[in-house]
Amino acid sequence: MEKKIYLDNAATTKTRPEVVEAMLPYFTDLFGNPSSVYEYAAQNKKAIDEARAMVAKVIGAGPSEVYFTASGTEADNWAIKATLEAYGDKGNHIITSKIEHHAILHTCEYLAKHGYEVTYVDVDENGILKLDQLEKAIRPTTVLISVMFANNEIGTIQPIKEIGELAKKHNILFHTDAVQAYGQVPIDVKDLNIDMLSASAHKLNGPKGIGLLYIRKGVKIRSFIHGGAQERQRRAGTENVPGIVGFGKAAEIALATMKERAEKETKLRELLMKRVLAEVPFVRVNGDKVRRLPNNINFSFQFIEGESLLIMLDMKNICASSGSACTSGSLDPSHVLLAIGLPHEIAHGSLRLTLSEENTEEEINYTVDQIKEIVDKLRQMSPLYEDFMKKR
């Protein structure tokens, strides 16, 4: 195909033209600093308020419970570091899962080096958190449970409601990294007992460089970035007005189109999955079949390695990912795939395809055709495949 086929929407998404349109006035016309006294800046303040109300609405939160950050990563860092600091009187223990994004895991590793204690709870073979292990991990000193809403690699959606109830029962705060789920699946923070939630605009066709942290009213939290009085003195730095406006617009559209998008993406994904499973031997699907993000599919092709697969797909104009984008360049296989029990060599051969509503059936069929050919070509090259065939 001539046209690029973009199947890496979990890494980042195209900013919608309507979103860019909404942002544009705030660069050159309404560029004032929202903290200023003059009326000219009041328009920016209003724009921020409206965007805040909209991004809050997506998760059933109040506008005053939402704080803008520069990314999902910053929101994750903030939630974890500042909460543990604020509740130091209660204890120094945090519980999380083995399949969190590095924004959570590396933050926990950092804290572990600074006197905090971290428990990493296992997931089952589909990537679903072991709730009984979670409950057993709870100590009197446990301040926070942080479990992601949906996994960025295998798309598994966690039993958030049950985790929320557990946290509430034991009077522990509950944070969820919803970077992959926000705007993609229905979320109601009140119903789910979520105390804190992270999201990032560029995962829902909003701009890069803007995220949010929801903090339930009543949760005691300190600032993570200190300075000016922005974001009700919680997060300093001149407001990224165009980014905030863009996030608001993207959230509005995501909320309005959630159902139809999910249906369309699920349909395409099922087509993709069925054809690959039927036509490519020695392949497995990673992640839960049902509790799964609508647009995510994750395969492991035995005997081949992911990067070469990606490059060959790239040469056919298909953008995909193996493991998570953030760690490419690293040589370790995905910690998520290892956590669901895949052996290293199979974890290495994984392919993540994450769809958008813009993908077509034609693209999906073309992609499957290419996958078939490339996997076959790489297997011909593979000493592991040679050994396997000879043993048969």
Binding site: L331, P333, H344, M381, P383, L384
Partner: protein, 145 residues
């Protein structure tokens, strides 16, 4: 990310395949690191490498370095082949990204492993050649599903 030479050797690998009853076969790397290379050598009685083939499980750089390494040793004597370093492989490919330098080392090792196998099979000693360290079967068990 990769040079044109790397991409060329990755997409059109030279000497990919097997040699039945090869004079020497060497397999290095392991699945944990995500790279396994196997080199087949066909060495004539004069010690000339008449033919060489490879199979590789690994990233683009792993495939390209295997391909280039086979090109560099083909037609050479055993002693000449021993002089083909990872540096030579990298240079011939116009360079590798820093995170991929280990692939070129693996290619060097794979050649050495195949030479070691050849030496063992023929009960000879090749000056300057040491027993190869790594092998897939040492580290992880094979798994199926």
């Amino acid at each position: 990310m990769y040079t044109q030479k790397v991409m060329d050797h990755f997409t059109n690998p030279r000497n990919m395949g097997e040699i039945e009853n090869a004079s020497g076969v060497g397999t290095v790397g392991n699945a944990k690191c995500g790279d396994i290379m196997r080199i087949y050598l066909d060495i004539d009685p004069d010690g000339i490498i008449n033919d060489v083939k490879f199979k590789t499980f690994g990233c683009g750089a792993a495939v390209a370095t295997s391909s280039m390494a086979t090109e560099l040793v083909k037609g050479k004597t055993v002693q000449e082949a021993l002089q083909v370093t990872n540096k030579a492989v990298m240079e011939a490919l116009d360079g590798l990204p820093p995170v991929k330098v280990h692939c070129s080392l693996l290619a060097e090792e794979a050649i050495h492993a195949a030479l070691w196998d050849y030496a063992e099979k023929n009960g000879i000693k090749i000056e300057g050649l040491q027993k190869p360290k790594s092998d897939i079967h040492e580290e992880e068990e094979e798994v199926e599903y």
